[in-house]
């Protein structure tokens, strides 16, 4: 099980990679979204804010356009780039609450952060 502190480190690493990318800040211009991440088993909630082409970790919960919910290890693996979010989403392990367009953008951004 991934703890809240471990997940914070994972998200910090993810945001660093994202903000260092030459393409992602351009691609996410105008796509300002808050993403809430909820671990079913570990009981923590985390949040990311994408704004002005940059992403940052938020402290705690916030009103969001996108909500991810699943086992803590799955969520950590997605943001570490070890697992495509599509796979746990298609088997019901990961629940994504958002519009389809936002869902696909998030999927492709995580792919671009870590590569195939």
């Amino acid at each position: 099980m991934t703890s809240a502190d471990q997940m914070t480190a994972v998200l910090q690493d993810f945001t660093d990679q994202f903000n260092r990318s030459p393409e992602l800040p351009k691609m996410t211009q105008g796509w300002d979204r808050t993403i809430v991440i909820r671990a079913r088993d570990a009981g923590w909630v985390a949040a990311l804010r994408v704004e002005g082409g940059r992403v940052r970790v938020l402290a705690g919960e916030a009103p969001a356009e996108i909500a991810l919910e699943g086992p803590s290890d799955t969520l950590a693996a997605i943001f570490r780039g070890e697992l495509s979010p599509t796979e746990p989403y298609m088997d019901g392990t990961l629940v994504v609450r958002s519009t389809e367009a936002d869902m696909m953008k998030l999927d492709i951004f995580t792919l671009m952060v870590w590569g195939e």
Binding site: T8, A59, D91, T93, E100, A101
Partner: protein, 467 residues
């Protein structure tokens, strides 16, 4: 600073739903459900139902099919209340029935979307050819499918309010024309002596009219009140039953429709309100077919994308274009839809699409019933925002009733040579075998790739909980 914090108390709408800014109201659930089922080919399906169930049996068959669909409403209601997922049928069948069956059925389900697009393209071309005889039907097919492709490739989406209005206006126009047509003198054919068999055949094909109402369940994740999803589905089914039951009633007694043209809705509109009625029904046909093309492309392309991304289909289908839409999947759908629609238009053999659609839809309800029974067994304590009443009675009745109706639809007359051969059944059996072969092969390859990754020392991805 620990950005990930202990979870606060959840709200009454279920985990996570209270945090979302984008939420769907009850009105949109009803309109989306009805809109997804409202297809132009439904008008031709009514003719096919009338051929099985003449006279008053036709509207009765549609109403009865609608009432029976309430069983499916209850099943889908509980499925989406237990596992609310935009991947809907894939998730439920995977959790309830296992991977090979789930992938096979998902592929077949994609086929139903293509069948409905082709059938609607055929109806649209036939109707526009009546209105504008100078333009050949295939030109209309290419025009409308290309518009749907381009708007999808550009990521253009209809606003929710316009979507709601479109569906309600379509239903209101159909009911208004139907009510006006009741006053037109006509002759209702007598009920045949062998009416029980006719009524059963009519109900089996009547399921087609409601096909797709459950495609709204993936939106359960966005619903403001997920527990009201079953009520929304039921209202949509009842609205469709009334609108198309009324249409079957008036169409059955009008001599202009009895002629057997391929645009019965235009004949009913003309008989009811003259030229205005004709053009209103042409508008209904065009808008309905347009929304079918668009909705079909949106839903099927996203499913193809997700299957491509998770390596269940060729990876090329899991690519997005510069506007973040699955371009390859859309082009594939466009190519197959155009080919299938032109084939149907050239041969005029549309009945097999209606029969196949009704069969697959019934099969869908059977599978949903089985999946619910499986989920209840495997996840007995999973939280649910809604539960179907009467224990196992509803899912079991859904399996039995739609199993029988599906068989009836699969063996209905299809107008093809050698009438003794159940062509619909043959076609679906071949497609199912091909899909099963592909699914087993693909799953084996995925398993090998996964083993290869493990042996190469790549950390294995966490798997789904076995619950």
């Amino acid at each position: 600073m620990a950005a990930a914090t202990p979870e606060p108390q959840q709200d009454a709408h279920g985990p996570g739903s209270g945090m979302l800014r984008r939420i769907l109201g009850f009105r949109t659930i009803v309109s989306t459900s009805a809109g997804l089922a409202f297809a132009a080919v439904n008008f031709l399906a009514v003719l096919q139902i009338r051929a099985q169930a003449p006279g008053l049996l036709a509207p009765l068959a549609i109403l009865a099919a609608g009432v029976l669909c309430l069983l499916a409403v209850a099943v889908f209601g509980e499925l989406s209340a237990t596992l609310p997922s935009a991947a809907g049928i894939r998730v439920w069948t995977l959790r309830g029935l296992g991977d090979p069956f789930s992938l096979t059925f998902t592929l077949l389900y994609l086929g139903t979307v293509l069948a409905v697009i082709a059938a609607d393209g055929f109806v649209l071309a036939a109707a526009l050819h009546v209105a504008v005889p100078g333009v050949p039907g295939p030109a209309w097919i290419l025009l409308f499918l290309t518009v749907a492709l381009v708007s999808n490739l550009r990521g253009i989406q209809m606003a929710g309010l316009i979507q709601d209005l479109t569906t309600y206006v379509l239903l209101a126009a159909l009911i208004a024309v139907g009510v006006a047509a009741v006053a037109v003198p006509g002759h209702m054919p007598p009920t045949p002596a062998a009416w029980p068999a006719g009524l059963f055949g009519g109900i089996a094909l009547g399921v087609f009219v409601f096909m797709g109402f459950e495609w709204v369940t993936p939106l359960a994740e966005e619903a403001r009140h997920p527990a009201r999803m079953p009520q929304g589905l039921a209202l949509a089914v009842l609205a469709l039953a009334v609108a198309f039951g009324l249409f079957a009633l008036v169409a059955g007694r009008l001599p202009a429709v009895a002629g057997g043209g391929l645009a019965p809705q235009l004949a009913v509109g003309h008989a009811a309100l003259g030229a205005i009625g004709f053009w209103v029904m042409l508008g209904v046909t065009v808008v309905t077919a347009g929304t079918t093309f668009n909705g079909g492309f949106v839903a099927a392309s996203r499913l193809l994308y997700a299957l491509g991304r998770s390596n269940y289909l060729p990876a090329g289908l899991g690519r997005l274009n510069g506007r973040f839409v699955p371009g390859n999947a859309l082009w594939l759908l466009y190519g197959v839809s155009v080919a299938l629609t032109l084939l149907v238009f050239a041969t005029g053999r549309y009945l097999i699409l209606i029969n196949a659609g009704a069969t697959l839809e019934s099969a869908m309800y059977v599978v949903a019933g089985l999946a619910l029974l499986g989920l209840r067994r495997r996840m007995p304590d999973a939280p649910r925002t809604w539960r179907a009443p009467l224990g196992r009675v509803v899912p079991l009745a859904c399996v039995v009733v739609f199993g029988a109706l599906g068989l009836g639809a699969a063996t209905a007359a299809d107008g093809l040579p050698w009438p003794g051969v159940p062509w619909t059944l043959v076609l679906l059996a071949v497609l199912a075998l091909v899909a099963w072969w592909y699914a087993v092969r693909r799953l084996r390859r995925r398993a090998q790739q996964s083993r290869g990754r493990r042996e190469a020392g790549i950390r294995p991805a966490p798997r789904a909980a076995s619950d």
